[in-house]
Symmetry: C2
Subunit: 354 residues, 2 copies
């Protein structure tokens, strides 16, 4: 049996990213044949709507990949590590949102606005999508790099709790309900007392009315795994193996949309008006930069939108080759589901139309 359009499997359809992916599949031009939704046995049997049709969620199993051309993996690292090769063996191209394969030399790490060509060479049959913090940053920085030659990045993040999945959002919601009744005074200990231990949170400290300078796991020498990921992923995506890149990752009490304060130094001088011209026309970027008029990006402006928003562009007073910027991107859309959908659609275009 031939089918005119490639078939798709969404593994992890019941998660935070999975939910946004189903919205995007219903909104974008439909390039897919059959769409299978897959989760763990916990959620199997649930019915979700995609492209207007109720679709039953299947439990992850070797046989679900029969006849699947493209499989999106929106699941934890260990699930991807185990099951992506199974899907490939069954003939699918895998596009993976986890960290399992991102630094594998035989797996391209793809941001379509920057290195779409890389998705075509995939020795292991797998394409990886970067971490959401990298994605919220790289589209804007990549456009400037193409013009000025990036030499160094120093990034401080303001990360949304949904970056930690369903549990991150639940932790903020619960903590906020705890402090809602309190006076929110400025008296020593008020906040700590109201928050207590923070319950079953994925964060290492309370996140409501607080900021938490730790994301991911211990990567040695004081670094967190997400800080190392930003460095390595930027180097790989931009093909700059020696790029100087430093990140400090901090969670803030925001539901969705990661923000970044970025110091970027280039090979050449970067007048603000030239940076503005490039950002205003770069694909996937919105320039929103008139601070005296109140125009700068904040998560509440950006949440639910596709592009990377850039504002607060300033030329360093100490080095005419350096820019300061404030960048926001919805971690659930461009930071995850949208980037995966863009890669998947470019892979779909490789399939012969019959």
């Amino acid at each position: 049996m031939t089918h005119s359009r490639p078939s798709l499997a969404v593994v992890g359809a019941t998660g935070v990213i999975g939910g946004v992916m189903l919205q995007i599949l219903s909104q974008h031009a439909d390039v897919w044949g059959e769409v299978k939704l897959i989760s763990s046995p916990r959620s199997a049997g649930r019915k979700l709507v995609v492209r207007g049709a109720e679709t039953e969620v299947l439990a992850l199993h070797e046989d679900v990949f029969d006849g699947v051309d493209v499989a999106l993996f929106l699941v934890p690292d260990d699930v991807s590590a185990r099951w992506a090769p199974v899907a490939v063996a069954k003939g699918a191209v895998v596009i993976d949102d986890s960290a399992a394969f991102r630094m594998d030399d035989d797996v391209p790490l793809v941001v379509p606005e920057i290195n779409s060509h890389a998705a075509r060479l995939r020795p292991r049959g797998i394409v990886a999508s970067p971490h959401c913090t990298t994605l919220s940053l790289i589209v804007a920085v990549g456009a400037l790099h193409a013009e000025f030659g990036l030499r160094e990045l120093i990034v401080s993040s303001y990360q949304a709790v949904s970056g930690a999945g369903r549990e991150g959002v639940a932790a903020l919601r619960e903590e906020l309900s705890l402090v809602a009744g309190t006076e929110l005074g400025t008296h020593p200990g008020d906040v700590r007392r109201a928050l207590g231990d923070g319950g079953a949170s994925p964060f290492a400290a309370p996140v409501a009315l607080n900021v938490v300078p730790w994301a991911g796991t211990d990567a040695g020498h004081g670094w967190s795994s997400e800080e190392i990921a930003i460095r390595q992923e930027c180097r790989k995506i931009l093909s700059l193996p020696n790029l100087r890149a430093t990140a400090t990752c901090v969670y803030v009490p925001v539901v969705a949309t990661h923000s970044m304060s970025v110091h970027a130094r280039f090979e050449n001088e970067v007048p603000v008006h030239r940076a503005h011209e490039i950002l205003a026309t770069a694909p996937g970027v919105v320039l929103f930069d008139s601070p005296a008029a109140g125009d700068f990006p904040t998560p509440s402006d950006v949440v639910g939108t596709d592009p990377t928003w850039v504002g607060r562009v300033r030329q360093s007073m100490d080095d005419p080759r350096a820019l300061e910027m404030f960048i926001c991107g919805d971690n659930l859309r461009k930071g995850a589901a949208l980037n995966i959908a863009q890669i998947a659609e470019s892979v779909a275009a490789e399939f012969p139309r019959t």
Copy 2:
């Protein structure tokens, strides 16, 4: 009439900083004679407790400075600009928390842990205390500078709403009560809809469930006044007129305690163990840096405490002379009232004991 101890006036006793100042006056060793509390006519007549005694608040007027030896100004810039010289003319030494005199060459800008000597030379009779963002940073950075020679600072702030005074705290409280009943979903627009315009807020965007990358007023070329203040004040306090210093100032939904992600480059190499030794013994600094065990400073740990807390100390992977750090300081204590109290106590020690 001689008095054995200098008399004190607290101008702005009814504000956020004034309230913390009254606590500190009650807690510290008492070096003062009479203490007068002063506000605008709006609050005059109120009774506040200081050193255990109910004290009536007086309206600001030339005559209130009669017999005052030391006057603390905890009021808006324009009020300090007009009234500090009046207090000096009446014979008082003024210690000012506003921005009115900080960059005046004839006014020392003092952080006792770093340049206590500077408070003794005050051609205008005025000593200025730095901005709260500078103060939350400089005690730790100054200790490292003394050892390694500071060359460059790149700072991104996570500023508490109380940095904008009573109105900042009121705005966060009101916005949080608006979102408390909502589902806090991750659906596009949820947050924006719940927050609306944010009412009469001192911030340029909603601050609950959001971050706002703008603090102060327009300082030209895209910079905010607080970003310029950090640069200029660090240069002045450290006597480093050519220090490279860049800041990005961002408000976060935290009640009190400013946090900073700091990239600091020094003249000499800075192994983490040496930085730890210096920070662990520096006056006014707490080292809290064992992230794998969950030990890093967050506002909920630091609020209500006196010192500057430092954690997440990492040596740059690209430059052995650079350190990354995360620094927290209570903007109402060391960031304002405590620093003023420390300066005032050193001035009090100049008065002859009779």
